[in-house]
Symmetry: C2
Subunit: 216 residues, 2 copies
DNA sequence: TGCTTGTTCGGATTCAATTCGGAAAAATTA
DNA sequence: TAATTTTTCCGAATTGAATCCGAACAAGCA
């Protein structure tokens, strides 16, 4: 961003530009939107775009940042509730809320997720990963029995990334072979089973060790 | 593609262009590569690009197609072997081969996967999904006990998409928090546990039903 | 009100993608 | 082999979108 807006009028302009960006992006996708279109929708001159944004991509970047920040703002407050639920219910709840979030405000975000992958969005994914990692960490702390499972970082990595992308991919596909509810249910079960199985395994290993100790 | 090359010379230029595309893409990413660069690397005039490709994106599309086709060509022959292995070993084997595939030829593909998501690559992902679906189907048929598990399409969807993207994401990240081997191991365990748990569940349900039947 | 600073604008500029018409090379024919 | 047709190649010219810039306009302040 080339310059910070100081007056309220200027802040309104910046906001109008970002809003226009969302509208244009939802209509045609990022590749097909021109600076002129954004400017027209925002009701400002083309030149104004460059007062506050270094270039066209900078507008998209701010949009991505805003989207990710809003998503994180959705997740963070849910953490205390989620950590007290059974794991599969927590997954279900989280994804259900996410779906609602995408659909609110006439589904603008929904139209953008579709193109989000196209952008340098990845750069701005970090806060989301951090928030989800925090959720996982807190969950583990609230359920001490889960702390026995092996390689928690790996498990967490797979669940977060596999989960994010399975969901994003599903939202992106024009004709997904399964419904969103089925996806959510499947993810909930997958996570649930993994945890159960690992706990059972840890228990078995422990009792085996005990047996050996007694045997010697 | 505007015109088909008929002479061998022309086929060579088409090939040179696509190769140049891979080189340029690996160096600077797709957004920063210009038609002139591609032409220079390929050793042809800019105009020649447009003899065989409608536009710049068409070059990237062909690259994506080629990459996906090669990946499918990697997977297909592995299917007969994979379906005879325990599920987690099959996952390990598949991913190990995929890693080798990406690294061969001085890692050109490896540099491209990074940008693959950026392109309309998704359009060309279908064959890969189909191949993996086939793998899953054949696997299920070779292991009749797995046919009891619930909502196979959902499970298959999650494993394929979550898996693809977790792997792609890992390859893309500059400093992944876990190693590729850990990722592979985690995915293998996750899939393995899910299957085991579902089979156990099905068995439990069945014997419960039997008990009820006997009880009445 | 006069002065300074912030804001807006749209024509001018720049740069990359794409087009086009003809030259060179290869294939075909006589 | 020479003439003719087809295919291929090219790079200067065109086009259109992104970006820059300096004049004109508004806000804050004395």
């Amino acid at each position: 961003m080339a310059r910070k807006p100081s007056q309220t009028r200027a802040k309104a302009t910046v906001n109008a530009i970002v809003e226009a960006g969302f509208i244009a992006m939802a209509e045609r996708g990022p590749a097909a939107t021109t600076t002129r279109q954004i400017a027209d929708i925002a009701g400002v001159g083309v030149g104004s775009l460059y007062e506050y944004f270094d270039n066209k991509d900078a507008i998209f970047s701010v949009m991505s940042e805003r989207f990710v920040a809003d998503t994180v703002a959705l997740i963070r407050p849910l953490i205390p509730t989620l950590v007290r639920m059974p794991i599969s219910d927590a997954v279900r709840e989280l994804l259900e809320r996410f779906r609602e979030f995408l659909q609110e405000g006439d589904g603008r975000y929904l139209n953008c997720v579709q193109y989000a992958i196209t952008l340098d969005f990845e750069m701005y994914l970090d806060p989301l990963q951090t928030a989800l990692s925090e959720l996982v960490t807190q969950y583990l702390m609230h359920h001490p029995e889960t702390l026995q499972i092996r390689s928690i970082p790996t498990m967490s990595y797979i669940m977060i990334h596999g989960g994010i992308f399975a969901v994003v991919r599903h939202l992106t596909e024009p004709n997904p072979p399964i419904s969103f509810d089925e996806l959510v249910e499947g993810l909930a079960r997958m996570v649930g089973h993994y945890i159960e199985q690992e706990i059972a395994l840890a228990k078995a290993t422990r009792s085996e060790l005990n047996a050996q100790t007694r045997g010697d």
